[in-house]
């Protein structure tokens, strides 16, 4: 079991030279308030048990979908098997828009749009994971990079005709009907979720090697074109 720190251990934001980690410049006390909306499904702290969602002790550094006895979505298990590890940056992305990181996650939560609130709640959860100052090489201290997409990328208007052509490459595996026989459907995805997800693969935030490769060679315009096509595909 990982060290459990009392929540009031220190409230000072820890600054790291250069960039800061979301969980380090957050306010743990405010984070505890933010966490109330999570608490109906998730427990954290001493004696925390799984409820609808997994307990969150030691969540930093944990492979997604691996707590015994929790009923995860197929996609969460897949993402875990593909190597999704909960870190500062992946948790931040997941909390911002859960479905954009893990499609069809069972966590029915709209997300926390406010970046400061996410920093706060991550700072609070961090208390119940290994402390970064103890294990500098371990995953929890891995430097996060801001996953927020340049608003100019999100504002790009995609060319759906080009998207249709590009989509033909996706449809070798992702059935246009949206059926999931082992590879999830992507038809009818909200445009913004699609763009965020593809950029997450491109930046290797999402773990799948085929998707990292496929997204890796798509330009911002091409991702926008695909999103514009897939959003209207029934």
């Amino acid at each position: 079991m990982k060290a459990i720190w009392p929540i009031n251990v220190t409230l000072a934001a820890v600054m790291v030279a250069g960039a800061t980690l979301a969980s380090e410049d957050g306010d743990r006390e405010r984070g505890e308030q933010v966490f109330r909306q999570c608490a109906s499904c998730h427990e954290v702290g001493e004696g925390a048990k799984n409820r609808v969602g997994p307990h969150l002790n030691g969540v930093f550094g944990r492979t997604a979908g691996t707590i015994e006895g929790v009923k995860y979505s197929k996609n969460m298990i897949r993402m875990g098997n593909d190597g999704l590890i909960w870190t500062d940056r992946t948790l931040d992305a997941y909390l911002e828009n859960p479905r954009a990181l893990v499609s069809k996650t069972r966590m029915s939560f709209r997300g926390i749009k406010d970046a400061q609130e996410r920093r706060d709640v991550l700072a609070y959860l961090r208390v119940y994971s290994d402390d970064p100052s103890n294990i500098p090489e371990a995953e929890p201290t891995a430097r996060g990079t801001d996953h927020d997409l340049d608003p100019a990328i999100l504002a790009l208007k995609g060319d759906p005709e080009y998207g249709e052509y590009l989509a033909s490459e996706c449809q070798t595996c992702h059935q246009s009907s949206g059926a999931n026989d082992g590879i999830p459907g992507v038809s009818g995805w909200p445009e913004e979720d699609f763009v965020v997800a593809m950029h997450a693969y491109k930046r290797k935030l999402r773990p799948h090697p085929v998707m990292q490769m496929m997204a890796g060679r798509l330009s911002d315009e091409e991702i926008a074109a695909l999103a514009a096509y897939f959003k209207d595909l029934e």
């Binding site: 593909d82 052509y165 590009l166 490459e169 595996c173 890796g216 060679r217």
Partner: protein, 422 residues
């Protein structure tokens, strides 16, 4: 056989009436015509996409002798007992419903001057653009002692369907402690990991049903696709059952005797119970008849898959010599979409987008133990060139291998829907 163009008198009704056999294709629609030869991963995909995307502006005919298509991909899983033959069969009804004129016949010649394709049943069909996707045929004399007349005694099972069923029947009839032999092909050939997935699936079957049996693989290559992954699995799961004899140990110096059922490797005769001979391959014969091959394969331009010898002929999939892509169903499907977009643009002026190609090959080592390799490609002036790639690692967790296998099932459902229409 080289067809004499003089036997084709044209496409008008009067000309058709003067032939002893009627032309199949009614002339006179005035629409541009695309004829696709071969209804596999390349041809079916190209026909479907051109018909679907041109919305009736192009007449698309697909010439394919089989009424039911059995995929070669996943046929090893049938050998291993993990799939039924019915799981691998697909009808052409979806393509017909999607506007493709599906003609079950053999294309037996191409007259590139007259731009017609001759059919085995008689007559010929005209084209504006011809897409050849005939898969593979075998190089004559590639394995000493073996020719097509021996394919019942020693099946290749490298085209889907009856040959696969034959090999399975022979595997099931092997005596206790018997020997299953494979003669692996030299590069380049269809589905680089295919022979080794087959060895894995045969071992999977034998381990459960005939555990003292042996497998010998005579291979003219010194290394093969996903070798570390396969050999790790063979050692861990089928320890000692599989003897792979590569080029360095005489694996390329083989002959067979289909009557005596022997496989001679580097001068040493082995008595075998099943002998799966996968000979060296070449482009499907119709590509050679069309005069678009150089050596064993048909060279193509990477940007649109057009033949380097005739701008109105395109060659897809296994038959094409295109550069870096492996010969696979996934590659053929990927190339078909680039080609369909280019052909449509040439015939109707629709927008033509830059070529993008990709491939992923999944292989199964044991139940729920899948691995994969893949890459993306781009068109250069010279060839289809690899951009980026990945491969599964040795020592992966059982969970990841299971996810990879499930993903391959998703891919199978996806590509067959993409080829034949859902």
């Amino acid at each position: 056989m080289k067809l004499n163009r003089r036997i084709f008198l044209g496409t008008g009704a009067a000309a058709a009436a003067s032939l002893s056999a009627p032309t199949v294709f009614a002339a006179g629609s005035g629409k541009p015509r695309v004829v696709v030869v071969g209804g596999g991963a390349g041809g079916a995909t190209a026909a479907r996409y051109i018909a679907k995307d041109s919305k009736g502006e192009i007449d698309v005919m697909l010439i394919e002798p089989s009424r039911e298509y059995y995929t070669c991909f996943f046929s090893n899983l049938y050998l291993g007992g993990l799939k039924e033959m019915d799981d691998l069969g697909h009808s052409y009804g979806g393509l017909a419903a999607g506007g493709v004129n599906v003609v079950h016949d053999w294309a037996i010649g191409v007259d590139r001057d007259a731009k017609t394709v001759a059919l085995a049943s008689g007559g010929s069909v005209p084209y504006d653009k011809l897409i050849l996707s005939p898969g593979i045929d075998f190089v004559d004399g590639a394995v000493e002692g073996w020719d097509l007349s021996a394919q019942n005694a020693m099946p290749h099972a490298y085209k889907g369907g009856s040959q696969t069923e034959l090999l399975k029947a022979q595997l099931m009839a092997m005596p206790e402690g018997g020997t299953f032999a494979m003669v692996a092909p030299p590069n380049p050939y269809r589905c680089p990991p295919g022979p080794y997935e087959r060895v894995s699936m045969v071992a999977h079957y034998l381990k459960a049903n005939n555990p003292t049996a042996k497998i010998i693989v005579a291979d003219p290559k010194s290394k093969f696709s996903k070798q570390a992954l396969f050999q790790e699995g063979w050692a861990d799961i089928y320890g000692g059952m599989i003897d792979w004899i590569g080029q360095d140990f005489g694996g390329g110096n083989v002959s067979v005797d289909p009557v005596a059922m022997t496989l001679t490797i580097d001068g040493e005769a082995n008595s075998v119970d099943v002998c799966n001979v996968i000979p060296a391959m070449k482009a499907g014969h119709i590509a050679e008849l069309a005069g678009v091959t150089e050596g064993n394969w048909a060279p193509v331009n990477a940007a649109d898959m057009s033949s380097k010898v005739d701008a109105d002929v395109y060659v897809l999939g296994d038959s094409a010599n295109q550069g870096d892509m492996p010969k696979s169903g996934f590659s053929a499907n990927s190339q078909a979409k680039v080609c369909a977009n280019a052909v449509r643009g040439a015939l109707t002026g629709s927008r033509v987008f830059p070529a993008k190609f990709s491939n992923t090959c999944w292989s199964l080592i044991d139940t729920n133990n899948g691995v994969k390799v893949g890459a993306t490609y781009e068109a250069t002036d010279e060839k289809i060139a690899k951009v980026d790639g990945f491969i599964s690692a040795t020592g992966e967790t059982a969970e990841l291998r299971k996810t990879t296998y499930e993903e391959s099932e998703g891919w199978y459902a996806g590509i067959t829907a993409d080829m034949f229409g859902a």
